[in-house]
Amino acid sequence: MRSLQQFLYESNARCALLVDRSGQLVATVGEQPRFDATAFATLTAADFSANDQLARLIGETEFNSLFHQGEQESMYLVDIARRVILVILFDNRTTLGLVRLKVKGTVEELARLFTAMFQRARDTMHQPNILAGAEDEIDRLFQ
């Protein structure tokens, strides 16, 4: 998170969101988004998945990053360790070039972090079973 905050400061971007590939929002850093972040996360994952398929059609394995340009607001999306998508929202106070340049180190750091985290999860095979024994409670919820 500190790395993302540092990146936002250096690049003058507004905010960064981490979205799981299945469309769940993992974290936001910087200005709190004023839009529906749940819907945003879902559409981001769908956008990335659709572009992955487009990449394959033209003989690429993936598009590692995507850029959507608007009149005021733009977004740059980049893959992290094939599991998470980093979305950076920025406006006219900065440029795509600066964002891309500054985010490089952060992406590498996050990729190392997530790869290690997923490896740890695989090694320990830890399945948090928070609903163990909650069958009755589940039944009651749906009565």
Partner: protein, 225 residues
């Protein structure tokens, strides 16, 4: 795959409504959207063509209550039903926790139903998911139409059951939603089969919509229990 957010004390699960084109998948979501309290649901996102045919997916997040202090948040998705949208359809199935197959009861749509069911099996298989072991319910929609096929014909065509091989599971399991019927039973040829729970529905009026949603959500949560 369900995701547990300890900081927000939230469990998020993904449910996909699958089925042939114009079968009522989007209508199911629209009804849920219209009926639940605004503070327990998010926006209904529809990626549709200008003629309101689903192009990529519809999406609706709903909270169904709290268990063990965790908010249960379900992300409901529909897929585009038309045959040629298979690439998009497959993408939506990624990391799915539960499936609702919305079948169109009309006799003329029987083939389209079977084709969609076959397509569901194939797409799940490509992800390495096993439909026979995951939360799966079938909704027979449009039961109000005069040309609706009889239930037993739909069941025979779309829900013949997965064979149960494990001996400890080879015992009769009554269908909690239909008195006198069983989800697991031995068929006359001797095999034990397990059928998916099914529901009759008229999605445009909302009949059966919440029964279906509750059943699949319950199955999903039970996989975590």
């Amino acid at each position: 795959m369900s995701m547990i957010n300890y900081a927000a004390r939230e469990i998020s699960c993904k449910i996909v409504y699958y089925g042939p084109g114009l079968g009522g998948k989007t209508t199911n979501l629209e009804h849920v959207y219209g009926r639940v309290q605004p503070n327990t649901r998010g926006k209904l996102i529809s990626l549709a063509t200008e003629t309101e045919r689903t192009l990529f997916f519809d999406f609706l997040p709903v909270d169904l209550g709290t268990i063990r202090g965790f908010k249960t948040r379900f992300h409901l998705y529909t897929v585009p039903g038309q045959v040629y949208y298979n690439a998009s359809r497959k993408l939506i199935l990624k990391s799915v926790d539960g499936i609702v197959f919305v079948a169109d009861s009309q006799v003329e749509r029987m083939e389209a139903n079977q084709e969609a069911m076959q397509n569901l099996y194939e797409n799940m298989l490509e992800y390495g998911y096993d439909l026979s072991t995951m939360p799966f319910v079938i909704q027979y929609n449009k039961r109000d139409l005069p040309n609706a096929a009889p239930l037993n014909e739909l069941q025979a065509a779309l829900n013949p059951g997965f064979e149960v091989f494990e001996s400890q599971r080879q015992r009769i399991a009554p269908d909690p939603y239909h008195a006198g019927e069983n989800l697991i039973e031995q068929i006359p040829t001797g095999e034990w089969v397990e059928r998916a729970p099914y529901f009759e529905a008229v999605a445009v009026t909302g009949d059966g919509v919440f029964d279906t949603l509750k059943a699949v959500s319950k199955l999903v949560l039970k996989t975590l229990a």
